[in-house]
């Protein structure tokens, strides 16, 4: 791999950093006047520079259609970075960073604009020593992917010069169902090789998501218990107090299942359920993850009715503030059947996870925000202490956000002459133990893409397998003559009663967050 090759070639690198070393390159952002560029991408690049990890030779070219000069673009980005950078802005560093940013005005559909882009990139390569390495970031709606990629190929920008590389980062959503994902994959892979394609799932860039593998495979005490013999069930929750805000039209065409479960939550499930990879290369890790998605038990329409609850919020209150129903949100149909909540009971059909349900729930307008994974262990045999009253099981919770950390619930004796057992919580908070703020997910992901490490990006087969699974549910909801109902829940509650019943049927309950 180039990363290792380059590191070995530089004798002064030894012992200095175990971080991936980004290579000199030009990052070309399509959709550079968009929200994501201003809020996330440029602040992330600036923070990487501030940590001293940006290659000396790096340029950023923003591609969008509005009239702007390099200078006006830089000024706007400065304002945005001031607002969104996690470590503020240092005038001097920004002064040097802004000189690396350029604006290229063109319509996505205008071939001539790409020809000019190619010339400009060549000129930048010689002026800035970026060696013909290019990272194309498609920060645009998926409907634009095909057109942009086709034009990139038409002017040969997808083909790296001898000794250089070209890569493409694509944003979510990657498809809306299996056929569209397959089409997108074939469009992308027609122009870029799979190993040069980086599909963003920003959950994977989060520190705690990366810590799941460390927790499981660097601690000898967990892995022996990490199976159906000791684990009763797993709960994965992503709760949000926010509504759809300004994203009504997008959300209407997506819904909670496609927006969150197909990508983020299934990725978390994979990290929890996967077998240890043989090594930490991108493909070894992703091979194991894809096996999990393949092992998800497919659902027939009757299984969907039994194992999946979809809900939509009605009027209610969040944080003491009254909020309207989903159907009354801006640019949302008053008869909308889009789910803002979904709870699923999933099974991973392999030896390790036989008969261990994975309960996954995600929702908007819930009482509080947070993403976590809770591993509920089986209760200790009831022969000694828990003969009369049930002793609660051990629960290991991995908090992904906010307040990232890990906690373990164990049983302890309450002081006194009688044997009274009480659960106690051992808690580890990242923020408390490590004072240093974690880098933002986009920082890590951009660094990795510049360094050629695709471990934290989704591979085509992973994405397609996930859609294959999700499509069965979508079909049961939208293409079946008698679809399961869309349940309602008041905003500010923990979701529809039917979701509670889903677990109650199994003698279990959702974890209180």
């Amino acid at each position: 791999m180039t990363t290792h090759h380059d590191r070995a070639a530089n004798p002064l690198r030894e012992g200095l950093s175990n971080r991936p070393m980004p290579q000199p390159c030009t990052v070309v952002i399509f959709g550079a006047s968009g929200d994501l560029t201003y809020r996330k991408l440029i602040p992330a690049l600036y923070n990487i520079a501030s940590d001293g990890d940006l290659p000396a030779a790096l340029s950023v070219v923003g591609f969008a259609r509005r009239e702007k000069t390099d200078d006006s673009f830089r000024n706007e980005l400065e304002e945005a970075t001031r607002k969104f950078s996690r470590q503020g802005i240092n005038e001097e560093l920004w002064g040097s960073f802004r000189e690396r940013i350029f604006y290229h005005k063109s319509e996505f559909g205008d071939l001539e604009g790409y020809e000019r882009l190619a010339q400009r990139l060549n000129a930048l390569d010689s002026a800035r020593n970026t060696r013909g390495n290019r990272l194309f970031y498609l920060s645009v709606a998926p409907s634009e992917f095909g057109g942009i990629l086709e034009k990139l190929a038409a002017v040969g920008l997808n083909n790296p010069a001898e000794g250089s590389w070209t890569r493409v980062i694509v944003e979510k959503p990657f498809g809306t169902d299996l056929p569209s994902a397959q089409t997108l994959n074939s469009v992308v892979n027609h122009v870029f090789r799979e190993e040069d394609t980086y599909r963003i799932d920003h959950y994977l860039g989060k520190e705690t998501a990366q810590n799941i593998m460390v927790l499981r495979f660097a601690n000898a005490i967990f892995e022996p218990l990490w199976n159906h013999r000791y684990i009763d069930h797993v709960q994965i929750t992503a709760a949000e107090p926010l509504g759809v805000e300004a994203r009504g039209p997008y959300y209407e065409s997506s819904g909670a299942l496609r927006d969150m479960v197909q990508n983020h939550l299934l990725q978390l499930l994979c990290l929890v359920a996967m077998e240890p990879p043989t090594d930490l290369t991108a493909d070894s890790v992703r091979d194991e993850k894809v096996k999990v998605v393949r092992a998800l038990r497919p659902m027939k329409p009757e299984d969907v009715a039994h194992n999946v609850v979809r809900g939509q919020y009605t009027n209610g209150a969040v944080n003491g503030r009254e909020v309207t129903s989903y159907r009354a949100e801006d640019r949302v149909s008053p008869e909308s059947m889009t789910e803002t909540y979904v709870a699923l009971r999933l099974h991973v059909d392999n030896w390790r996870w036989a008969d261990v349900p994975f309960y996954v729930r995600v929702g908007k307008r819930l009482p509080k925000g947070g993403t976590e994974i809770a591993i509920h262990f089986k209760a200790a045999p009831g022969v000694l202490f828990n003969r009369d009253s049930a002793v609660g099981p051990n629960v290991l919770v991995i908090r992904i956000q906010p307040d990232e950390g890990i906690s373990l619930r164990i049983q302890a004796k309450r002081p006194g002459a009688s044997v009274k057992i009480e659960p106690v919580k051992m808690d580890f908070h990242y923020g408390t133990s490590f004072g240093k703020a974690s880098p933002e997910a986009y920082e890590r992901l951009l660094l990795d893409a510049m360094s050629g490490d695709a471990t934290l990006f989704a591979r085509s087969d992973e994405v397609e397998c996930a859609w294959r699974f999700i499509d069965l549910i979508e079909q049961a909801w939208h293409a079946h003559p008698s679809p399961p109902p869309l349940c309602q829940y008041p905003a500010g509650s923990w979701g529809p009663a039917e979701a509670d019943a889903l677990l109650e049927r199994d003698g279990r309950a959702w974890r209180r967050m």
Binding site: D6, P11, L12, L16, D51, L93, S96, R131, T432, S433
Partner: protein, 351 residues
């Protein structure tokens, strides 16, 4: 000398024998509103009242970023009294996540008169169990080394820049290491001090075009502030070791090495006012690299020049020379410092 110990900042005094119990009480009082956090035992050894005060200030800063049990050990061997005094205190700050106070305890001891031989014993009795022990020894090591004290240390932190006789000090360390304490990792803050500089220089050679410059290197000039000669020497050692240069002719501040193909490489050290290392130039037959600390001191201005006319500039963070950030950098880095030991082996004869 002469100033007395200001005990206010050290917290409240406790009986040595009651220390464990008092710490427990401290946390019972604080536990309503705060969370206790600890990842390491961080012991700091210093001499005299002023150093106690300065170290307490530093620990307060340090614990904001790295949760630990801080153990401050002060010594005043010239005191007429033989006594050991102890205090406990908590350093609290608001956590990143918001509402909760995060607290780390500081246990302080002051060894007066002839009680210095009991440091190891007191330290071991007051470690937070199961956590690694990092010992930061300020100033010179006493001869002979207290082997018992070092036996349980995981990382020994020192600053060779502060030593008047570095060769003697390093030979003491070597002696202690040879007595079989393999777990001990040496952490020289004088090496950490040049971390950002080494990173900045290394980064310029991540670009393969620039590597030709290393392959035909002929002169390295390093400008250092008064008192930072040893920092510059470690840098010489680093470049020489990593580029596999052999020492040919050693003269103070102007030494000659030989590269693997027989090419001579000269290292020149210059003393200039400024902060630690202010400038480092690498000249070769094909171009040059200039790394210069900017006047405010926050960045290195890098300039790479190729013979064929290309010039590239870059700005990279230069880090801080203050004790707390250096310590944090050192602790975050971890590792066995093999590169340091190699650099030291080359630099030591020049000390």
């Amino acid at each position: 000398m002469g100033s007395s110990l200001d005990t206010q900042a050290l917290g409240f005094p406790v009986e040595l024998s009651q220390l464990g119990r008092e710490i427990k009480k401290l946390w019972e009082r604080e536990s309503q509103t705060s969370t206790r956090a600890s990842l390491i035992n961080f012991a700091v050894f210093c001499r005299g009242p002023e150093a106690m005060q300065a170290s307490t200030d530093l620990l307060m800063e340090f614990t904001r970023h790295h949760a630990c049990r801080a153990i401050l050990i002060g010594a005043e061997p010239d005191s007429s009294q033989d006594q050991i005094r102890a205090w406990i205190n908590a350093h609290c700050h608001l956590s990143r996540a918001g509402a909760k106070q995060v607290c780390c305890e500081q246990v302080s001891f002051y060894f007066e008169g002839r009680t210095g031989n009991r440091i190891a014993n007191v330290l071991y009795a007051n470690l937070d169990s199961d956590l690694p022990l990092y010992l930061w020894w300020q100033g010179d090591f006493p001869a002979p080394i207290d082997v018992q004290l070092w036996a349980w240390v995981d990382r020994l932190i020192f600053d060779s820049q502060s030593w008047a006789q570095p060769r003697q000090q390093f030979s003491l360390i070597r002696e202690a290491l040879s007595s079989g304490h393999s777990r001990l990792v040496l952490c020289d803050l004088n090496w950490t001090r040049s971390l950002h500089l080494r990173q900045a220089i290394a980064q310029m050679f991540d670009c393969p075009e620039n590597l030709t410059l290393l392959a035909s290197l002929n002169t390295v000039t390093i400008s250092h502030a008064p008192g930072f000669h040893s920092t510059a020497l470690l840098l010489v050692g680093w470049l020489a070791a990593q580029l596999k240069l052999e020492l040919h002719d050693s003269r103070p501040d102007n030494s000659q090495f030989t590269a693997p193909g027989g090419r001579p490489v000269r290292f020149v050290l210059k003393q200039e006012s400024g902060r630690s290392i202010s400038r480092c130039e690498l000249h070769s037959d094909t171009g040059s690299l200039l790394c210069q600390r900017d006047t405010a001191g926050d960045f290195f201005r890098m300039e790479i020049r190729h013979q064929h006319g290309d010039v590239h500039h870059h700005l990279l963070p230069s880090g801080s020379n203050a004790a707390a950030p250096l310590l944090l950098e050192e602790i975050a880095g971890g590792g066995p410092h093999r590169v340091y030991l190699r650099a030291l082996a080359i630099a030591e004869p020049f000390f």
